[in-house]
């Protein structure tokens, strides 16, 4: 029983020490890196046009409905109202 207890304490202590050791890990990145673009090779098709161009389109015209007389209904009504 005594040994088992000691073994358990030792195991816990070891585990804690292991976790603490993991937290203190320092990751170092490269401060400078060099890419040689000349050696890079990209596979694919060229889709962009070779020359800059603007496509012409019709200017949007906002239609205004101008008043056009089609009837004299109001004037005819008024002719009746204005009789005797």
């Amino acid at each position: 029983m005594k040994y088992a207890l000691i073994a358990a304490i030792l195991f816990v202590t070891f585990k804690i020490a292991l976790v603490e050791a993991k937290d203190n890990v320092i990751i170092k990145y490269k401060k400078y890196d060099e890419i040689d673009l000349g050696n890079l090779e990209i596979k694919g098709n060229l889709l962009a046009p070779g020359d800059l161009s603007v496509q012409e389109r019709e200017r949007v015209r906002f239609s205004r409905k101008l008043y056009l007389r089609t009837t004299y209904k109001d004037e005819q009504d008024r002719d009746v109202y204005y009789l005797r």
Binding site: R59, R61, F62, R64, K65, L66, Y67, R69, T70, T71, Y72, K73, E75, Q76, D77, D79, V80, Y81, Y82, L83, R84
Partner: protein, 477 residues
Amino acid sequence: MKVLLTFLFIMGSQSFASYNKAKMIYIQDQSVEKNLKIFKELFQSKYYLASATFLREYIEAGNNIPEELTEWVDTLVIKTGHEVFDSVKAERLMAQQSWALKFVASERLFKANRFKEVVHLLAPFPENHKFAPEAILTRGIAQSAMNNMTEGNKSLERCEILAKDLAKDNKKEKLERYYTIIAEKCLINRARNYFQEKSYQKAISLYHEIPKTSYTWPYTLMEMAWSHFYLEDYNRVLGLLVTYKAPLLSSYFFPEAEYLSALSYLKMCLYDDAGVVVDKYDSYYREQTNELKKILAANKNSDTYFLKLTLGELKEKEEMNPYIRNLVTQVRKRIRYSLDLINLKRSILEEMAIKKLKQDAFSKELDERMSAVINWKRRKINHFIKKEMFDFINEVHRFSYELFNVSLEVISNKKDLLYKGQSLAKERTRGSEKNIKRNELQHFWTFQGSFWADELGDYSFGLESNCKLQKVTRVRR
């Protein structure tokens, strides 16, 4: 002379006797026929308005006028107007045998857009009745409103013939003029029907039948101009509308005419000319109208202000605002105004005659009844004039908005030309005879800067359309 005096004495004493009889009936009679009896006696003593108030009550109580009295009722409506029957339901008036009252009912139905009933009610209207031209005119317009143009035109043609006959046979100048105006109204409404049916040429030839001396003629110019507009004769449109600039027609200012001028310039791609019309409208007419509105709005709740405005001297009105004079002139030429004013004056004279009689319960009753009707008549005429004037103000504002749209269209078209790198082929020219469309009966005279009465309404511009000759010129980079 002796005979005349004796005749007048007999007539006067008869009239007085009838009045006394009416008074006795008023005091003693309790029968259902009481109001009809009083009406008969007062009518015979020539107190027409007073008698009409008793007849109104008799009808309102659900009674029908005996057939032998229908002629009296016709006379009554002519002498007093129909305001006294305004409180009677249309159905009660329709139920009467009097054609005058049926006609009054038809106007009421027309105002309620019950056109089918109007046509039905006036279909059997006797053509020998004094109100026949007006009744058939009403029927024709009701048929037109129901889009039954064929029947409408038939009625209007019949109305024109009847009114012309009555004008010819009438020896009284005022009545002759009255029936002539009715005949012209019938003809104008036929032309309007043709316009609605897009038979513009037919409409124009009918408008040409109105003599230039007629009161209605200035109004036909603009209507004729619209027909020419649809026939794409914009030079004629502009020529017709420029007639309103003649000093003889200075009382006639129609906002719609300014709009139609601008629209015609726009159609001819004369953008600068359209712009001039819009600018002038905004800077002058709208300003003047705002002034007019201030004057009228200050008195809008008055029951007499507008009536008084039409009664005084014209010169006084000119100082107030240029439009007041014009509107007063136009209102004074309306049939409705003239008839209502005559009736009002007649009613006031009758009231004064009753006030001179011995004051008792009966004369007080008559006075009260007449005061109520006279006040109602006065308010109605006042309202009619007020409406005419405020309608004008509203019209100015409405066409100000429409002209704004025209100016936007002008800007848009100009921008289009600019973006497309185009320009109009021609600059504004003074015009030429070769651009004028005319028939074999029309002769050409150059306008020398003065308006001659016999030339009015026959003008045409000679401008060349700028649209047809657009020249595409690419802007160089």
